[in-house]
Amino acid sequence: MSEQNLVGSMTAAINEAKESAMLAIRSTADLAGLRALSADLNKKDSPLNSFKSEMGKLPSVEDKRSIGQLLNAAATEIAAALESRTREFADSEISARIESESLDLTELLVQRRRGHSHIVTQATQRLEDVFIGLGFQIAEGPEVETDFHNFEALNMPKSHPARSEFDTMFLEYGEPNSVLLRTHTSPVQIRVMKSWKPPIYAIMPGRVFRRDTPDATHMPVFHQIEGLVIDRGITFAHLAGTIEAFTKAFFGSEFTSRLRPSFFPFTEPSAEFDIRRADGEWIELGGCGMVHPNVLISGGIDPEEFSGFAFGFGIDRMAKERHKVEDIREMYTNDLRFLRQF
């Protein structure tokens, strides 16, 4: 065979081998077949690879180069076809898997509900947060109290007539009538004065007890929040300012407040505080006043150096009115149908 013929026949054979490899790639049905084919094509004795050994027969360098280039191009083309076909198979395989994994999520959704915080707790926390914003800390005390903390230290000595208004529940504990269920959160004032020392900016929420027959607006067990500020230079204007700031922060900026004279044994001057709604109606909220000097002395504070004010009101009513509960007793039935509404 002439040299020219040799080059020509090799070129034809190479192209033919390439086409047959491409055809095989196109006609392979799946990834496994493609992998087998790829292995076959990469074997040393595969049709294309066998030309590499035959290249030595070519006499001229130029011929070797042109056949070499042809072989490389064919190999690159086949490799690209293999890769693209592989990707095709992989894509359709993952698509099929995805299809087969279809789930109805609505069927699987488990209604895992959060529990419900009691509305009195919610009200307490909202009140606490407002006062925290005004620079107050929160103090706590026991619900079972001594006569001293509940009355005597609050300027109500044993024979004080105002004691009878508290409808106190006493306990069969210790000396008769010496241990009781606190009738207000005010005993915490004394505990705070003794343990914190001024300056004091404190609120005292908690459970209190009165010997009151339950009705739509009263419970024998209910909740109060009390505030106490003791510092140098505290005046009545600071009391009125704090009540006003609280009113706006808690009820809304459209509300205003007023203080009017009243009487409590533990404060003097004493006041009732009312809030006014945007529609002009006044609502009685609670009691307040400048801490009585005798109370400061009970708490170990010099009334000539420090002055202060205190205020207090009911929490249950806040919850009752916010949620428009008709009868306060409903709040304490522990009926889940009631609790789950809030």
Partner: protein
């Protein structure tokens, strides 16, 4: 205290601007609870005379009243009240009258018999606050005339004041007028006294035995009394203030009390034997009081006795029946006294006899208002008794216990300004106080001045400087004192404990439990029903009801009741929690003599088992960083003995987890299991969570392997785990029980526990030999507990 607008005007020119007056009263601390209009004329109501009354056999609740409305004709009216007799004058609403409540009077009767109008009570006409039956009119009115015109009734307003305990003077018109006059700049005049010449001296002897209880006792005799109806203006005023007119003597006494806050008591002098003696009761003594009841007396009750030592009145509370004023009374013995307040309070409370008089003595009356009260009584009685003689030589016993005429209290100008945040001068303060009768005895221009303030005798509440500061504040006006928000010098925040309490609530809520607030009072037996002891429970001395007489020592009984309640209402998925105080009795030597009160958290879920309770515990403990061991060896009473554990740290018990004892559940009619977790928050929340110290993460590979053991049921998984952890040492960085199997291939009394162990060193790659050695140590440790490696 009810204040009639027109009457108030007798004390000063207050006018009739009701809104303005109400606002001023409220701003003075005399809170106006309501303002009502009285005496609005009802057209068509005329004076009629009762001719006769008759029962009808078929009408039980009404009778037939025949009346004459002035034209001589007999009208027939059905009436449901029986308090009238022939000859009485009564108000008749004629046909067509529109009543204040909107009803129109028609002739429609009952049993086919028409009614020619309606007889009216005082309430129906808006004349009196309360009424027993038909209003009986004064006998001197002209038949057929308009009732309102005949009575001289004009429209008026009544202010209902809430008088606080510290203002006894305002239980009388004069006190209210004095404050209001000072606020509005209106001159106030006390009602006039008797100007008639005193009659011949006549007196009855007064002996005060218990001098600490009665400091003043004035006994004035008045003769020439003719008992009858009061003039209509007196009756009207009393009625409008909620008091029933009785007769001219009693009414005059009541009117004086309302005007001057001085109760008086009128005895029929002829029925009083030989003078008066004021002493405390003797045990076993009794008294028939004016209301017809026999009162058993105690030695703390102060009595008015006659000269023969027989009780004739309960001092300051109520008179006795034997000396009551009657139509035959000719001479009145008028008692005007000052009784010690707490004694009156004690008797009135004990006997449940809270009268207008006792209320005033309790709060405090003016010990120097006696003479004016006597004189005023005479003026009022003289209106209906023109021949009244007030005898001279009245007995007026005074004791040392009588409060002084004036108390002098020091008032520092600086203190007024310091407390109120104002800059008032000494003079301004003096002027303000003078208007309410507080005289300044010494003053100076200096800013540091101390004023000597003479407190009038009608203000027993003002005893110290701060009391006077309050008076200044009231009259300066609370609304004028300004509003300043103080700059808190503290950092507003929750304490760490309070923050942790909110955190734990969040965890519990997120687990789906709702918050209950059961009654902290239990019925006797409730604790026992919940499997708990009642020995450490405290009882209330004065419970509202027997069923609420025991203080809880645990939150469980309350929650069990709540569960029963919800089951009875067919609620599903009942899961509740409570966070609250419990009050077991403490050791007697506790610092303040208080019980061992602590804060507890209890979670319950119906139809759930201990595995849910453990799940709660594991979530809570991991979020909150609580640590405790499960101790199943001892059982908390009330819990399932085989399905619960105490949460323990050393000797300290932190709570309990598991299921409620089925016997307890049966007691509560709960027929499914209840998961329960209880924690002592007073201990757990007080702990500061440990702050983690950073450790470098190991860069070396870890080797994981599983060990499956056959373990007898008597050996707890926790114990095996603990042994493995100890044996594994510091290289055992993770240990997990990931499978529990009971059944085929295992002995009946055993189960298989499979643990996954993860070994890793921080400074090197563990060699195979090291891993094998640790594994062997673990196997040995487990074997000691009877846990044998499965093949």
């Amino acid at each position: 205290m009810k204040i009639l607008n027109s009457w108030l005007n007798d004390f000063g020119a207050f006018g009739t601007n009701v809104e303005k007056l109400a606002e001023a009263l409220t701003s003075l601390g005399l809170a106006v609870e309501s303002v009502t209009t009285v005496g609005t004329p009802v057209k068509g109501v005329v004076v009629a005379k009762v001719l006769r009354t008759e029962r009808h056999p078929d009408a039980e609740k009404v009778h037939r009243v025949y009346v004459d409305a002035g034209d001589g004709k007999e009208l027939h009216v059905w009436c449901g009240a029986f308090n009238m007799k022939s000859g009485d004058l009564i108000p008749l609403a004629t046909l067509g009258t529109t009543m204040p409540d909107g009803r129109i009077i028609t002739a429609r009767g009952i049993l086919g018999i028409e009614s020619h109008g309606m007889l009216c009570s005082g309430t129906e006409l808006g004349l009196t606050a309360d009424a027993d039956g038909i209003l009986i009119l004064p006998s001197n009115l002209k038949l057929g005339t308009d009732v309102f015109a005949a009575l001289g009734i004009k429209q008026d307003s009544v202010f209902d004041l809430d008088v606080t305990r510290n203002r006894p003077d305002c239980n009388g018109y004069l006190g209210v007028a004095r404050d209001l006059g000072a606020r509005l700049g209106i001159k106030v005049v006390a009602p006039s006294g008797d100007k008639a010449k005193k009659g011949v001296s006549r007196s009855m002897k007064v002996t005060i035995v218990d001098k600490s209880r009665c400091a003043r006792y004035n006994m004035t005799l008045m003769s020439g009394v003719v008992v009858g109806d009061s003039p209509s203006w007196i009756a009207q005023r009393l009625a409008n203030c909620g008091m029933r007119p009785i007769n001219n003597v009693v009414d005059a006494s009541n009117l004086v009390m309302l005007e001057l806050n001085q109760p008086t008591h009128a005895f029929d002098a002829e029925k009083v034997n030989n003078g008066f003696k004021i002493r405390c009761a003797r045990p076993g003594e009794t008294l028939l009081t004016l209301d017809g009841q026999v009162r058993d007396l105690e030695s703390s009750d102060l009595l008015i006795c006659d000269g023969k030592d027989n009780a004739i009145g309960l001092a300051g509370v109520m008179g006795g029946a034997s000396t009551e004023i009657s139509e035959q009374t000719k001479t009145v013995a008028l008692e005007t006294a000052w009784f010690e307040s707490s004694g009156v309070a004690k008797t009135a409370t004990r006997l449940g006899l809270k009268s207008e008089a006792s209320m005033r003595f309790e709060r405090g009356v003016d010990p120097y208002g006696v003479d004016h009260a006597v004189s005023r009584f005479a003026v009022l009685l003289r209106e209906s008794c023109p021949d009244l003689v007030v005898h001279g030589g009245a007995a007026d016993a005074k004791e040392k216990s009588l409060p002084p005429k004036q108390k002098v209290v020091s008032l520092r100008v600086g203190q007024v300004n310091r407390i109120l945040g104002v800059k008032l001068s000494a003079k301004a303060i003096s002027v303000m106080l003078a208007k309410i009768g507080f005289a300044t005895k010494a003053t100076s221009a200096a800013k540091s001045a101390t004023l000597k303030i003479a407190v009038p005798s009608w203000r027993p509440d003002c005893e110290t400087e701060i009391d006077i500061v309050e008076e200044v504040a009231r009259h300066y006006g609370y609304e004028n004192l300004g509003k300043i928000v103080p700059q808190s010098t503290m950092h507003g925040r929750l304490s760490p404990l309070q923050q942790r309490r909110r955190d734990i609530r969040e965890v519990v809520l997120s687990m789906g439990l709702s918050e209950a607030m059961p009654n902290p009072f239990l019925a006797p037996g409730d604790l026992v029903k919940a499997g708990l002891s009642e020995d450490n429970a405290i009882r209330l001395s004065n419970p509202l009801v027997y069923e609420e007489s025991v203080l809880r020592t645990s939150l469980r009984p309350g929650l069990l009741k709540a569960i029963s309640f919800n089951i009875s209402h067919r609620a599903s998925k009942i899961s509740l929690f409570e966070l609250g105080h419990v009050y077991p009795s403490g050791s007697a030597d506790s610092a303040e003599g208080l019980p061992d009160e602590f804060e507890s958290l209890c979670l319950v879920a119906v139809g759930e088992t201990s595995s849910l309770a453990l799940d709660w515990w594991s979530q809570i403990s991991s979020v909150m960083g609580f640590g405790a061991q499960l101790d199943q060896a001892s059982v908390e009473p009330g819990y399932h003995p085989k399905r619960s554990a105490i949460l323990r740290r050393g000797k300290q018990v932190l709570g309990c987890v598991g299921e409620i004892d089925p016997r307890v559940l049966a007691q509560h009619q709960i027929n499914t299991s209840v998961a329960c977790l209880e924690l002592n928050l007073s201990v757990l929340l007080a702990e500061t969570p440990r702050i983690a110290t950073a450790k470098s993460v190991s860069r070396f590979p870890r080797s994981d392997f599983d060990l499956a053991f056959t373990v007898p049921n008597s050996q707890s998984a926790g114990a095996v785990m603990k042994a493995l952890r100890q044996a594994g040492g510091s290289e055992l960085v993770d240990l997990e029980l990931f499978d529990v199997y009971r059944g085929a291939g295992l002995p009946n009394d055993s189960r298989s526990l499979t643990f996954r162990l993860c070994l890793q060193a921080s400074d090197r790659t563990l060699t195979d030999a090291e891993v094998t050695a640790i594994r062997q140590k673990c196997l040995n440790a487990a074997a000691k507990l009877g846990a044998l490696l499965r093949n």
